[in-house]
């Protein structure tokens, strides 16, 4: 059954049909939410809220790009969560401990222990670098470099002008690069700081 048919059935009020869409896109939604929010529980709540929003706003869905429409809902929900977190924030994101526990479900069992440890440490560094980014820059960077959206799609998803999207992506990349350079031993030799 193709997506259009499932969407049409969901529009008719069939919960099972909508749940098929949920199962299809929940990985995408959770990945975005987790990268943007940098918190498992918050990401899970945001995804659940996004699907509820999506079902209730299903009548307003017009078009064939259900994935993009759902992604926009997820991004908006993440913005809401970020705003609430910023209001209640008592500690800086930069003050979070550098060394953190590995996430169990990120483990790839098919890799050697040494390579696995190095890769996980690098991934952890990248995650921390993402965490250190401002939320607006982190969002566009996740959508661009992790989810693979184009500038135009990001502008549509976030409602930002194209120039803003470009500048935010550039600043986010530069900032993340500078963050990774704090631990050059995890990076390849070409990544070492340029001495001039």
């Amino acid at each position: 059954m193709d997506e259009q048919t499932v969407v049409a059935q969901a529009l008719n009020g069939k919960l099972n049909a909508f749940n098929q869409l949920v199962l299809t896109y929940q990985n995408l939604a959770y990945s975005i939410a987790y990268r943007v929010l940098q918190n498992e529980n918050a990401a899970a709540d945001a995804v659940q809220e996004s699907f509820i929003k999506a079902y209730r706003a299903l009548s307003s869905f017009q078009g064939a790009n259900f994935k993009g429409w759902l992604t926009r809902i997820v991004v908006n929900t993440c913005y809401d969560v970020l705003r609430v977190q910023q209001r209640r924030a008592t500690t800086s994101l930069d003050d979070l401990p550098v060394e953190a526990e590995y996430v169990a479900y990120l483990v790839d069992p098919g890799e050697g222990p040494e390579a696995y440890a190095e890769r996980m440490e690098l991934n952890q560094l990248i995650e921390q670098g993402l965490h250190a980014l401002p939320p607006d820059q982190r969002t566009v960077l996740v959508l661009c470099d992790i989810q693979g959206h184009s500038y135009e799609e990001i502008a549509e998803l976030t409602g930002l002008p194209m120039g803003t999207v470009k500048s935010r992506i550039s600043r986010a990349r530069t900032r993340l690069r500078d963050y990774l350079l704090q631990k050059p031993e995890l990076l390849p030799s070409t990544f070492r700081p340029y001495d001039g």
């Binding site: 008719n12 009020g13 919960l15 909508f18 949920v22 199962l23 929940q26 939604a29 959770y30 990945s31 987790y34 990268r35 498992e40 995804v47 659940q48 699907f51 509820i52 929003k53 079902y55 209730r56 706003a57 299903l58 009548s59 926009r72 809902i73 908006n76 913005y79 809401d80 705003r83 609430v84 209001r87 996430v103 479900y105 990120l106 790839d108 690098l122 991934n123 990248i126 995650e127 960077l141 661009c144 470099d145 992790i146 184009s150 500038y151 470009k166 992506i169 550039s170 600043r171 990349r173 530069t174 690069r177 990774l180 350079l181 990076l187 390849p188 070409t190 990544f191 340029y194 001039g196």
Partner: protein, 428 residues
């Protein structure tokens, strides 16, 4: 960051180059610059590697399934979903029900609106707002009852008259009850005179104070150094003092004339008018008060007459119930109503004339008021009450205003804090 040799090549341009979002000219420029400038090449390479690392990040696995259930939709704080409304008839009804369009949806939205956020702040804001409303209402009521307290500093005279006369229905009821206990006629007169008004008052002396209409006229001039509110409250049925003062007049009136209260009122009006006509020319005697009960309010003869009529008629009813007939009661009430209407017009004219007099008196040239203007006698007790009210009311009203302002500010502040605790929802 820019290169010294290629300042036009910024990190943003390099980032766009990585995403192949540059023009052909920019692409050519960057590729040429990278060959010549090693620093620029390092910047581009590190940026590309950063993007590669991000691309290589593993996809996170979902901790659980996010499929929806009817219970989830029902328990959600958002409006009742279309699913909850249409699940039971999903097969037969292809058209979705718009959430929030019906009355239940609107009511649910309204309830949800107030249930989101910090409830303590919401309740505190509501209490503050309620307090503000109560204080505002109290302040309005107080201002309505004691306008002079708030306008003491204002020179122009402000005259307000409140005449509450017993209605015909009450009189009739009292008459039907044959006890007359419930009968009450109240005249409340509030007047303000300018601080330096020198006016001529028609005073009929003690006899007139007691209600005798044809007592000898006593012209008396009085200068009022201060402006004070005057409230004359004569409750004929309840106030025994007023009854005592009015009773002889009624007795005299009823003894000499058995024409009922209406004819008595006409006679009193004539007597008052004749007394006013016999007023001596006024002479200014500033800053002097000749008698303790000297009146401080300029009132028309009509007002005096109204007071006398009211006192006499009501006292007559209570004192000598047996003599009261239904005609007397009715005619008395009618006369009261007519006079009350006259009072309004006459007092407005009096206020205007008093203002003119005030301006004239400022130059120590006392100008007599027209013969139709006369002072009504006030008792010393009423004067004392008025003075006390004038002293205490401003402080009380200031306290009310402070509380009113504080409650309004508290409501605004707590409401804003409550609003900040609400999660911001963005339109999809």
């Amino acid at each position: 960051m820019t290169s010294l040799r290629y300042p036009q090549i910024t990190d943003e341009l390099l980032s766009a180059y990585i995403d192949n979002a540059v023009s052909d000219d920019e692409k050519t420029l960057i590729e040429a610059a990278v060959v010549e400038d090693s620093a620029l090449a390092w910047r581009l390479e590190t940026l590309q590697y950063t993007v590669t690392l991000l691309h290589a990040l593993p996809q996170v696995s979902v901790p659980r399934n996010f499929t929806l259930s009817q219970a989830q939709l029902a328990d959600a704080t958002m409006p009742a979903s279309a699913l909850a409304q249409s699940v039971g008839r999903a097969v037969t009804s292809p058209k979705r029900v718009q959430p929030g369009r019906d009355a239940n949806g609107l009511a649910q939205r309204w309830r949800n609106f107030w249930q989101i956020g910090n409830l303590f702040l919401r309740n505190a804001a509501a209490v503050s707002f309620a307090l503000f409303l109560v204080l505002s209402t109290s302040n309005l009521l107080l201002n309505g009852l004691t306008p002079m307290a708030t306008n003491q500093a204002e020179a122009p005279a402000a005259v307000s008259i409140v005449v509450t006369a017993t209605s015909n229905a009450v009189l009739s009821t009292a008459t039907r009850n044959a006890t007359g206990v419930a009968l009450a006629t109240t005249v409340v007169v509030q007047a303000t005179t300018p601080p330096t008004v020198v006016a001529t008052q028609a005073q009929t002396g003690g006899a007139q104070k007691q209600g005798a209409p044809d007592a000898g006229a006593d012209a008396r001039r009085s200068s009022l150094p201060t402006q004070a509110p005057v409230a004359l409250l004569a409750e004929s049925a309840a106030d025994t003092q007023a009854m005592q003062s009015a009773a002889p007049a009624v007795e005299q009136s009823t003894a000499s004339q058995n024409e009922g209260a209406a004819s008595s009122a006409r006679q009193q009006e004539d007597a008052s008018a004749s007394s006013a006509a016999e007023l001596a020319p006024p002479a200014p005697v500033p800053q002097m008060r000749t008698q303790a009960y000297a009146p401080q309010t300029s009132m028309t003869s009509t007002m005096m007459m109204t007071e006398l009529i009211t006192e006499s008629s009501s006292a007559a009813i209570t004192e000598s119930e047996a003599m009261i007939t239904a005609e007397m009661v009715q005619s008395s009430a009618i006369v009261s109503d007519v006079v009350a209407t006259r009072i309004t017009d006459t007092m407005l004219a009096t206020a205007a004339q008093t203002s003119v007099s005030s301006a004239t008196v400022g130059n120590a040239t006392a100008k007599p008021l027209s013969p139709t203007q006369a002072f009504s006698p006030l008792s010393a007790a009423n004067e004392a009450d008025s003075a006390t009210s004038a002293r205490t009311t401003p402080a009380f009203q200031s306290l009310l205003r402070i509380l009113q302002l504080a409650s309004a500010l508290a409501a605004l502040l707590l409401g804003a804090l409550w609003w900040r605790t609400r999660p911001v929802r963005q339109e999809i």
